[in-house]
């Protein structure tokens, strides 16, 4: 039996728009992926705990609040603390070019900027998870 890809889609932090996250979640489902959607206003701790319990392959974060430089590193740190650093972290949101480079250095696997077709995200996930 082929293992199903499981992805957690979450929105850490305080901003209140989850339309983008929902669109991505639905697109992933339509691509045959099992998506765990945790909803708005999640703490980094609760996202990591959910990712562990759900044994996802990927955490996909939508961050529009501008807090990406604190939220991403925190989540990566927590994953390490819990021995779950094999879970990949990707993200989307309005994130400046120079920050993207920094985030990659910290261990974020991929950042998708607004306007990225959902097909590109799906392709990426299917390629890295095998």
């Amino acid at each position: 039996m082929k293992k199903k890809i499981r992805v957690l889609v979450g929105k850490p932090g305080l901003d209140g728009h989850d339309r983008g996250a929902k669109v991505v979640a639905a697109a992933l489902r339509d691509a045959g992926i099992e998506v765990i959607y945790t909803g708005l206003h999640q703490t980094s701790e609760s996202i990591v705990e959910a990712a562990i319990q759900e044994d996802v392959d990927v955490i996909g974060l939508s961050i529009l609040s501008g807090a990406h430089m604190t939220l991403f590193p925190r989540i990566i740190e927590l994953l390490k603390e819990k021995n779950a650093e094999d879970i990949l972290v990707i993200g989307g949101g309005i994130i400046p070019e120079e920050d993207i480079e920094k985030l990659y250095k910290m261990g974020v696997k991929k950042i998708f900027t607004p306007g990225t077709p959902t097909g590109t995200i799906i392709e990426f996930i299917k390629k890295v998870i095998k």
Binding site: K4, G32, E34, I36, E49, D55, N83
Partner: protein, 316 residues
């Protein structure tokens, strides 16, 4: 299993990865190994139509049970999309209060479309949580089809959640949902129509077997405001006492083991039959003969069965 001790100590990563292993495989090795450590967990099923508030109820019930310092496992099952094979599992949205609780483990499961396979997988996942020392396992499923009724079979107490919206009670009766209910709740009873639904349900339950000593409580709840949850938890506890006292608890579990054993034997036989006894092409020939009325299904079945008993050799 190399991490058995960690699983028994309820290490969360180990629980999660063991569930994945069990979910993705037909191998029974892990289940065999953990079985002697199971049997403690009490299984509560929460089922009902989509949107009736099941996840919100699970959250509220779990919070009550946690007050007694209990360990709680939650399995939330949602349908797999029949078109893509993917699924959107959103039950955790209503369970955020529990996300970080030391004594709670929540797992979302997709139905993955296999007929009858879901109930089996859910039982297997529950077994892992049982081995990890959960005192209660809450299983949320959408109550629409046969599969959910099968899951009810493994639950010690099944709670059916309906809402006052019109038509729910009739639909629930049609699909057999009420038959599996040990407790029925009218959730969202802050909405209009809960009294009418209560009357309809009482009427439906009046027709049930009067000899049974369980009174099938019907309760009103407002899950979002914690109204009626204490009563619900008390009824669940009473039901547990009733099951144990009437020996049904033991009987039901033995029945489930019996089913499991037969299920596994049948699975193995079916596999062996296809692989070693009769190939598809051989079968096709026989089907052709049958179609031309030169043979018949009864004779063929007897011969194949004989071949099975003879270790793969036909009699003549």
């Amino acid at each position: 299993m190399k991490n058995l001790q960690k699983l028994l100590n309820a290490d969360k990563i180990t629980i999660a990865r063991t569930i994945t292993a069990v979910e993705n495989s037909t191998d029974t090795k892990i289940l065999e190994e953990i079985f002697s450590h199971t049997g403690n967990a009490y299984h509560i099923g929460i089922t009902g139509p989509p949107g009736s508030g099941k996840s919100t109820l699970v959250n509220a019930i779990a919070k009550k049970l946690l007050k007694d310092d209990r360990k709680i496992g939650i399995i939330a099952v949602d349908p797999t999309s029949p078109f893509s094979g993917g699924a959107l599992l959103g039950d955790r949205i209503r369970m955020n209060d529990l996300a970080l609780h030391e004594n709670v483990f929540i797992r979302s499961m997709a139905t993955r479309g296999s007929l009858g396979g879901l109930a089996k997988k859910t039982k297997d996942v529950a077994l892992v949580l049982d081995a990890a020392g959960m005192d209660f396992i809450l299983i949320e499923t959408v109550g629409v089809g046969q599969v959910e009724l099968d899951i009810a079979e493994v639950c010690d107490t099944t709670v059916v959640a309906l809402v006052p919206e019109s038509g729910d009670s009739i639909q629930a009766m049609k699909t057999g949902l009420l038959e599996v209910a040990d407790i029925v709740i009218i959730n969202k009873s802050d909405r209009e129509g809960s009294d009418i639904l209560m009357m309809e349900l009482k009427f439906a339950f009046d027709l049930r077997d009067k000899k049974i000593e369980w009174n099938y409580p019907i309760l009103k709840t407002i899950a979002t405001e914690n109204v009626g949850i204490q009563e619900l938890v008390s009824e669940i506890k009473s039901h547990r006492k009733y099951l144990i006292k009437s020996r049904q608890f033991e009987e039901k579990r033995k029945n489930n083991f019996s089913k499991k054993i037969h299920e596994l034997i049948e699975e193995n036989v079916r596999f062996h039959l296809k692989k070693n006894i009769i190939s598809q092409s051989e079968l096709n020939l026989l089907l052709e003969k049958t179609y031309q009325r030169k043979s018949n299904p009864y004779k063929i079945a007897t011969e194949i069965y004989q071949k099975l008993l003879n270790g793969g050799k036909f009699d003549n």
